[in-house]
């Protein structure tokens, strides 16, 4: 009986995947996307390798980059067959992971506190307002002075941008909660803590996840900036050293890799968000979005 149910579940699961894949192929989305990529890559190929426009004289061509990227024996020592390529990706991912985790672990509680407590907000928010617009690059010297080694400054800089994005969106999330929901919970007998747990936190969650998506984006942004200045591994470091050592195809490999890995991390955050907020997804679906 149980086994049968398990098989049924697996069958429907497979069916669902099949359905999704079929949907995906039927959907104009896919073809639009393919056309978009074709335009970008075709334009690049034409400009550099066919038309040889003077502006793009130094720019590595599409075929050259792809050849280098896929080569077993790359001219500049970096391709999908070299272990060093993956150590760079791993180094960047590790920094992103640590910084993003810390930014979330600190940013969400600080944001919830700021949103929930007027006193706390009055003390902290003005400081936030002033610190937030300072570009991450301006923090680089201080970060290097403050933190030992080459690893911690990079993580700190990455953390900083993420933290602001997460905390501010969390504040917005708390402020966006309908006051009547709090009153309703209270007259149904909820304590302060229960109001916080059952109303404030889930109510702020959509904004928190928007914040996390922004946060992961700015994390990559500041990570690369930091790696270009200080750091011994990582994709930003690859791009910067390839530039100084005139290994132009490797720059583009680094950039494309950043694009792919960055998209993957954003998608992962989004996925977790959807999982956590089934109610929200269903509500949006009802509204036809």
């Amino acid at each position: 009986m149980n086994e049968e149910r398990g098989r049924d579940a697996r069958m429907t699961h497979l069916g669902r995947i099949h359905f999704r894949v079929a949907e995906w192929f039927r959907h104009p989305h896919l073809y639009g996307m393919l056309v978009g990529y074709a335009l970008l890559l075709g334009g690049w190929y034409l400009a550099v390798e066919v038309l040889r426009l003077p502006r793009f004289r130094e720019m590595p061509g599409l075929t050259q980059v792809v050849h280098e990227w896929l080569s077993r024996d790359p001219t500049f020592g970096l391709s999908i067959h070299t272990p060093i390529y993956y150590s760079h990706i791993a180094a960047s991912l590790r920094r992103i992971g640590i910084a993003f985790f810390l930014a979330t672990a600190v940013g969400v509680p600080v944001g919830l506190l700021m949103g929930g407590s007027t006193t706390f907000r009055e003390y902290v928010f003005p400081v936030f307002e002033v610190l937030r617009p300072i570009p991450i690059l301006a923090w680089v010297p201080l970060a290097i002075i403050l933190f030992p080694g080459s690893e911690t400054p990079v993580v700190f800089l990455t953390f900083l941008a993420s933290f602001f994005a997460t905390a501010l969106n969390t504040v917005l999330g708390v402020r966006s909660i309908d006051e009547t929901l709090v009153l309703a919970a209270r007259c149904l007998g909820a304590s302060r803590w229960q109001v916080f747990r059952h109303v404030i936190v889930p109510g702020a969650l959509p904004f928190i996840f928007t914040g996390l998506q922004i946060s992961i984006g700015v994390a990559w942004f500041s990570l690369v900036a930091a790696e270009m200045v200080s750091g011994q591994f990582g994709l930003g470091y690859v791009i910067n050293t390839s530039y100084t050592m005139v290994q132009y195809p490797t720059i583009v490999i680094g950039m494309i890799t950043l694009g792919v890995v960055g998209t993957a991390t954003s998608a992962a955050v989004r996925l977790v968000g959807h999982r956590w907020m089934a109610w929200r997804a269903k509500e949006l679906a009802m509204e036809g979005r």
Partner: protein
């Protein structure tokens, strides 16, 4: 004359005793409720009508304990709910508010919403609370909506779920702030029927604000017409149609007479409110 329906409920008598409420934001003293006194018997459906913005909701929130009053006192079965100097208002699960725009938690399923009261108060285990919630939803004809989220549920059903949720705590008082305002008339009549049936089961005291006079006469034991701001009862009409009622009441002559009588009083007051507004503006 309406004693039989009321006598079965022993708790839930509200006394509003000479209540004054002054809002004082930025020193601009606004008198919202002016020496208002009103007695609501246990198990009575008290309908409150009056011009918009007259302070009915302020009164309701005072009974709920969301804020204190400037003078006077509100008592429930002799217990002071709010009085002057009582800064910490007493919000209790014995008085539940049903809000104008709905206040179901969108991140909880309808069943989780209904079970919320006993769950947070820990008066029941999780399983017991869910069983009771399922039972209450079934009683109200809401089977099948348990696992949907409020966002997937129609507004009429949501209002019913909200009232079921309010009654889960077995409160002595239900405070309803224009609960059916946003509904179309067809859904509204279904709601009235459901509310009357619910009332027949557990005669809970109701403080029910509305603008709909036909709704007022159909549901209420008495209808209190409030003056325009500051708020005070202008006229109290006893609705001498015996409970339990059903929509058949709508066809009777007595019902039509009472609606007309109420309408006249309300119109006078609305006109006065309008003229006052004109003069101020």
């Amino acid at each position: 004359m309406i004693a039989p329906a009321i006598s079965s409920a022993r708790r839930g008598a509200i006394r509003i005793d000479d209540v004054v409420k002054v809002y004082d934001p930025d020193g601009a003293r606004v008198l919202v409720v002016d020496h208002c006194s009103l007695d609501i018997a246990a198990g009575e459906i008290c309908i409150v009508v009056g011009p918009s913005g007259c302070g009915k909701t302020t009164l309701l929130k005072s009974i709920a304990g969301f804020h204190s009053v400037t003078a006077g006192a509100i008592t429930l079965d002799g217990r002071v709910l709010c009085g002057p100097g009582q800064s910490q208002a007493d919000v209790g699960p014995d008085r539940v508010v049903v809000f104008q725009n709905g206040a179901l938690f969108p991140w909880k399923t309808n069943l989780e919403n209904v079970a919320f009261g006993p769950m947070v108060q820990k008066t029941m285990t999780r399983a017991e609370a869910y069983d009771k919630a399922r039972q209450r939803m079934a009683d109200a004809g809401l089977t099948g909506y348990e696992h949907a989220y409020p966002g997937q549920t129609s507004s009429g059903v949501k209002r019913r779920i909200e009232i079921v949720r309010a009654l889960m705590n077995d409160p002595t008082v239900l405070l309803l702030d224009e609960p059916y305002r946003a509904l179309d008339s067809l859904t509204k009549s279904v709601m009235h029927d459901a509310l009357l049936q619910m009332y027949a089961r557990n005669q809970v005291t109701m403080f029910f604000i509305t603008h709909d006079l036909e709704e007022a006469i159909l549901l209420g034991h008495k209808v209190v017409v409030m003056t325009s701001r500051p708020c005070r009862p202008k006229k109290i009409l006893e609705v001498d149609i015996p409970h339990p009622r059903d929509p058949g009441v709508l066809g009777t002559r007595r019902y039509r007479e009472l609606v007309r009588e109420t309408a006249e009083t309300v119109q006078q007051e609305a006109r006065r409110a309008f003229e006052l507004g004109e003069r101020e503006g």
